[in-house]
């Protein structure tokens, strides 16, 4: 009798028992380790401030940032709301525009060939470089920011959805043809559901980009001084050497970005969990 086939607790052999143990450690570790590293980093930050006697207007200690988050809450969260509004409206427009254009592209190869290059041009030109033009041509402040967020966010949705609408099983298309399905039926019952995983992948990217677009736009526009989003709070705090508020605003933006990503990941998981490989639990 070798070691390997000696019965262990619960009738598991050594290898299976090891695997279960490894899984348990991984489940806990996935949350624990990043949190530990985060805590260590914050502690180190605090110590650096103390050891080097860095003044709070250069690098505030963590507790001061948290305190500012609390004392300036009204100001900061009001600004966050403004930024969020631009972000979500921009994302909404990106979804409508991206999916709409993608559907148009799949209806006609000519439209796709003619217009796709323009979408690429919009994507590769840095938004910061385009913004001065938008600033000249668009009067309304909200419209300016929305346009920026939209330009940044719509491309991943457009390119992913186009890819998805075109990656349909050829045999299923034949089946639809055999049953004399109309273009509309083919789109609604076949292409759109097949494109769903691709679209949701694009949406996850676009959510973060929309926030970046909203913040960057406000940064560039902020110089003209009429906006009140988080970006203008950061610029303002920078001018006044109010580092704690600067950090607080920065943390709010990061946390918002993380939340947007998590929410969109959840939406994607819920939408695909019954059928798509990406949402299935890995076995073994």
């Amino acid at each position: 009798m070798t070691v390997a086939d000696r019965p262990l607790r619960g009738g598991l052999d050594a290898e299976e028992a090891r695997r279960i143990r490894a899984q348990r450690i991984e489940r806990v570790g996935r949350w624990l380790f990043p949190l530990l590293i985060m805590a260590a980093a914050i502690w180190l930050w605090d110590r650096i401030c103390v050891w080097n006697e860095i003044p709070h207007y250069i690098l505030p200690r963590p507790y001061l940032v948290v305190q500012t988050l609390w004392t300036d809450a009204a100001l900061l969260f009001g600004s966050l709301l403004t930024t969020l509004r631009i972000t979500f409206l921009g994302l909404l427009l990106a979804v409508v525009g991206g999916v709409g254009l993608a559907v148009l592209f799949t209806q006609s190869k000519w439209v796709e060939m003619s217009f796709f290059p323009f979408a690429v041009v919009l994507q590769v030109t840095p938004i910061v470089a385009i913004f001065p033009l938008i600033n000249i041509y668009v009067g309304n402040q909200t419209a300016k920011l929305l346009l920026c967020a939209w330009i940044v966010a719509f491309f991943p949705i457009l390119s992913n959805t186009t890819l998805g609408l075109n990656s349909v099983d050829r045999n299923l298309i034949d089946l639809f043809k055999l049953n004399r399905a109309s273009r509309w039926q083919q789109l609604w019952h076949l292409r759109l559901p097949a494109a769903m995983p691709y679209f949701l992948g694009g949406l996850k990217i676009a959510g973060g980009l929309s926030l970046i677009g909203a913040v960057v736009a406000e940064f560039v526009a902020g110089a003209s001084g009429q906006s009140s989003g988080l970006a203008s709070r950061i610029i303002e705090a920078g001018y006044r050497l109010n580092a704690p508020r600067l950090f607080a605003a920065l943390i709010l933006i990061s946390v918002t970005g993380i939340l947007i990503f998590l929410v969109l990941s959840l939406v994607s998981h819920l939408a695909l969990r019954r059928w798509h490989e990406s949402a299935l639990k890995q076995e073994g």
Binding site: N171, D174, L175, L178, R180, Q185, H189, L190, P193, W275
Partner: protein, 272 residues
């Protein structure tokens, strides 16, 4: 001229009134490859015809031409007889189950009716009956990934038959399944066919499968794809597992294998 071709082709057909006739049909692709050339074939009403041949003999192309998914470069396909409604009602079973992974089993089978404007409520009795006939009752709400390969293929067959097509086309439907599952599906398909006698064209590369299922076997040769010979399978129905082990079955298989070997040798001769 055409009539001669048709009557020649229908020589081994069962019915006097064939459902469809291929008149010297040929297909050459834009790449210059000739997939089919001079195919004359009559499919009788209620026939179960197997197209048997090596890969590259144009079996699948023939099926796509009949389905109307491609158009012949030469000759034409005539639909006749009672099923003149023809192409609008063709059931197709692909090599892969080709189900919509996001839809339930019920929705997948409902699809052909849905595309014809039949509501879920109106379609439900037909869909449920069809699922029952392929032994999948109780799986209505399952999604394809929860099913085994054989079960997926059953869904695919149910979907093809739910519209009560005048012609069922099957393109090597069981090729990817293990042998035990394949035998079971062979028997079940035959049972369905015996109940309704829907005209079937079944593409396969298995001699044993074609003999077990068919009333007629059309052996094809490659380069260019053409009809090499036709063999009537006279064994009576119902055919069950006992038929698989009968001397009659063995003799038929031997004969068909011989014709297939000759068809493939013909390729070698042409190649030289």
């Amino acid at each position: 001229m055409l009539q001669t071709a048709a009557s020649q082709a229908s020589g081994t057909g069962r019915g006097d009134d064939p459902l469809l006739v291929l008149h010297s049909v040929g297909k050459t692709f834009s790449t210059g490859v000739t997939a089919l050339s001079g195919v004359n074939l009559a499919i009788g009403e209620g026939d179960f015809v197997s197209l048997l041949g090596p890969s590259g003999c144009g079996k699948s192309t023939a099926l796509r031409l009949i389905a109307g998914l491609a158009t012949p470069t030469a000759g034409h396909i005539a639909w006749q007889g009672a099923g003149f409604s023809g192409r609008s009602n063709v059931g197709f079973v692909f090599q892969e189950p080709t189900l919509m992974p996001w839809s339930s089993v019920f929705d997948n089978v409902w699809l052909p009716l849905r595309l014809r404007g039949v509501s879920r409520e109106k379609a439900a009795p037909a869909v449920r009956q069809m699922l029952d006939r392929v032994h999948l009752s109780g799986f209505e709400r399952a999604v394809p990934r929860e099913l085994s390969g054989g079960m997926k293929m059953r869904v695919s067959i149910a979907r093809a038959l739910v519209t009560k097509p005048s012609l069922l086309l099957m393109d090597e439907p069981f090729a990817a399944l293990d042998e035990i599952t394949r035998f079971k599906l062979n028997a079940d398909l035959l049972e369905l066919w015996e109940q309704e006698r829907f005209t079937t064209i079944f593409v396969t590369h298995s001699v044993f499968e074609s003999v077990f299922l068919s009333t007629r076997i059309v052996v094809m040769a490659a380069r260019p794809g053409r009809v090499f010979d036709e063999i009537a399978v006279d064994a009576p129905f119902p055919r069950d597992e006992a038929f698989r082990t009968s001397p009659e079955y063995a003799a038929l298989c031997r004969r068909v294998s011989g014709v297939l070997a000759a068809a493939m040798e013909g390729v070698a001769h042409d190649g030289r």
